[in-house]
Symmetry: C2
Subunit: 225 residues, 2 copies
């Protein structure tokens, strides 16, 4: 059985990590797979399978030591060192990310933001907002690997190309368009807020219609999507 480390597994790992942090803060020392599963919304078997995939093992009847498990997950998720990230686009979403409260504590450092609009530039801020033209050099000089695209749809592909040419290896893309990138070694993770909202709207309507006339095959029964 070849079980792959896929996107979903890693997302769950991040959630386990978050849950463990809370448990740790509450003073707990050990945790069982069903505690973690309950906290994250998956089965205990799923938790154990995920861990086994990364060679994480606990103690039979003893569960997992929270501290060491947390350390292991931190290491797997690359939390060992500070991860520098840049943001292209200092509009609404870009600014929200620049000020995202927990990034700093979590080892994610927004090194700079870039925009095409001179009015948005702030060179003297703690997180400077520079000209988009300066982005390639900034990426190269600072060895930035991760970029966030928060520019309008029309500019997104161009910004993506520039990022990749300058050395960016992973992109979180908020522009509502599918970015094409020839390089197989570049990871692109799209986040489309409108589509996420439309998804909620769809299921609210679908549930509304199936209130009491639900046919057998309609397994529309969601709480968490």
């Amino acid at each position: 059985m070849v079980m792959d480390v896929n996107r979903r597994t890693v997302l769950r790992l991040s959630r386990y990590r978050k849950a463990l942090q809370r448990f740790s803060e509450l003073g707990f020392v050990k945790v069982f797979s069903d505690n973690l599963g309950e906290a994250v919304g998956v089965t205990s078997a799923q938790v154990r399978k995920d861990f086994s995939l990364f060679g994480i093992s606990g103690n039979k009847r003893g569960g997992y030591q929270i501290d060491s498990l947390l350390e292991t997950l931190q290491r797997i998720l690359g939390k060992g060192r500070v991860q520098k990230v840049i943001v292209a686009g200092a509009g609404n979403i870009g600014r929200a990310l620049i000020h995202y409260p927990t990034f700093e504590k979590e080892g994610i450092q927004i090194a700079a933001a870039f925009d095409i609009d001179p009015a948005k530039m702030h060179r003297k801020e703690r997180i400077p907002v520079l000209s988009l033209d300066e982005m390639p050099r900034f990426i190269e000089e600072n060895g930035i690997e991760i970029g966030i695209i928060a520019v309008p749809e029309i500019a997104a592909q161009e910004v993506c190309d520039r990022m990749v040419r300058s050395g960016i290896r992973g992109i979180l893309n908020f522009a509502p368009i599918r970015l094409r990138c020839g390089d197989e070694n570049v990871v692109i993770n799209p986040v489309n807020l409108q589509i996420e909202l439309e998804n909620v709207i769809y299921f609210v309507h679908a549930l509304g219609k199936n209130q009491d006339t639900a046919p057998v095959n309609d397994k529309i029964k969601v709480n968490h999507l």
Copy 2:
């Protein structure tokens, strides 16, 4: 074979819709399943399966009429009428959503935002920012069904409970916590920006390590996550 209308299918539907809008703007009249697949990043068979699930049919050899297909998708996705939405939390993300440029055009109307901080309130704006205490009445009086949670983690569950009690049926949750909601008929869609970013970071590191020493089982080979 019972194929379910699931989250992913609806997400794809939204993407097809978006692609169709672009095709339509470019003056195209008809489209084939492989055009749509290519635009969205899925196979043509996937496109046809998705459509067949909703009883959408095209013409053999003729493809699909863009206009009528677009109308059908709009209807399925509830684009017939304006969907009113409220936002709890007028912090960075809340404000970004309030000013999200395409919501208006797409029939999504942010009716109001709510915050606990008096300094953030703006009763006279086009999209007013009101006190969180006013939220329940606003939801009831305006028959709001969809809510966005963009408050700090600590307040999210409480806001969720209030929303649901007041009649909200679907929630887009940006707080980095799993919301519990007893009501099976309430849909919750979590969007965790930090976790999405961590996902990119993980795969960038994973790809970096497996540059030329990739073992057989490591199927880490991603472009779009």
